[in-house]
């Protein structure tokens, strides 16, 4: 059996391969593939638009044409169902003593939509299966969400508090959507929000 992806086509030797391809019909998708690979290889921090362009074999300007920043490239290539920066901003906006409730509600809303649940489950699975994906996701989410939220909270130990919130939310997702342990799986959303809100609030400001 030959692998069509690695076997040269009939015209492979007819001319020199262009080093930088111009924008083709699926250039955007190819840039996202290259970004996914680069984030996994280098992590989020060490990845640059230029490195993604090099991996995709296109000019950096073309990457900028499709994506306004490394952050957007991360969010799209990792197939996040929402922009986590928008969620964070919405959760921070409002009375400080209800932040746990807003967070529980927002987190469950993403997971309860069909598309969101499918994407988040795939992300959780690939984070557990691959140390490289775990590193990319850990670095990306830390820089896009956890650090800005920690700064905005303005409490002692903010980074520890925010990462403890992550333990509760990730564990909820694991138990409700992956391990499917009862009665958490069948629990009404409102009951889950009621139970999680004070715990998240305690982690953040208690």
């Amino acid at each position: 059996m030959t692998d069509p992806r690695t076997t040269p086509g009939p015209h492979a030797t007819e001319g020199p391969r262009p080093g930088r391809r111009p924008g083709g019909p699926d250039t955007r998708g190819e840039i996202l593939d290259a970004a996914r690979k680069t984030f996994a290889d280098k992590g989020f921090t060490a990845t640059s638009i230029r490195a993604v362009a090099r991996e995709a074999g296109v000019d950096a300007a073309l990457v900028h044409h499709y994506f306004d920043s490394k952050d957007s490239l991360f969010i799209e290539s990792m197939a996040l169902p929402v922009d986590p920066r928008q969620i964070a901003a919405a959760v921070l906006d409002g009375p400080r003593d209800e932040i746990g409730r807003r967070l529980a509600t927002a987190f469950l809303e993403v997971w309860e939509s069909a598309d969101g649940q499918q994407r988040m489950r795939a992300i959780l699975r690939s984070v557990v299966a691959s140390d490289e994906v775990a590193r990319a996701m850990r670095e990306g989410i830390t820089q896009l969400v956890l650090q800005p939220v920690s700064k905005a909270l303005d409490v002692p130990d903010a980074e520890l508090r925010v990462s403890l919130v992550a333990t509760q939310l990730i564990g909820l997702a694991m138990v409700r959507y992956l391990i499917e342990l009862e009665p958490v799986v069948s629990a009404d959303l409102q009951i889950l929000v009621d139970r999680l809100a004070p715990v998240l609030q305690h982690h953040l400001t208690g």
Copy 2:
């Protein structure tokens, strides 16, 4: 390509295959392999000592010779680093308002030992990777630990409370030992216990 596991060996037709093998040098290991397969195929509830014996090609009495119950077979075949029933009993034994602290301490102790961490990480990975392993583990842990603890607690919504405790503990394990998110990874054990104790206590009795 032929698969050596399904291709008959050269002597396959020379004599009748024994239906029930007597105890050989690694009978115990073979019973554990058969148990692992049976728990994954049928789940914990529907698995019996007899089904495991059948899968291993030995007499049920031989399984009973090595393992005193289906529960022990589960704990050993799933390579749990500790007997979770003992942990549960120790956590329940003592003042009710310090149960969260005893639980946080006991859970982290298991994960902090080198052997425990290696085993628990492997379990977490295989639960996420396989729906069958997830079902076996979910059913087994529910019957061995969660249900008895729920009964012992004697509070309203005990089962929901105990499964919410599971969300916090599984999330802590994910973040500290698999995703390795700072500052939870480097946090002192005592600090983690101090942060988790009130949250676990709230889930259980708050």
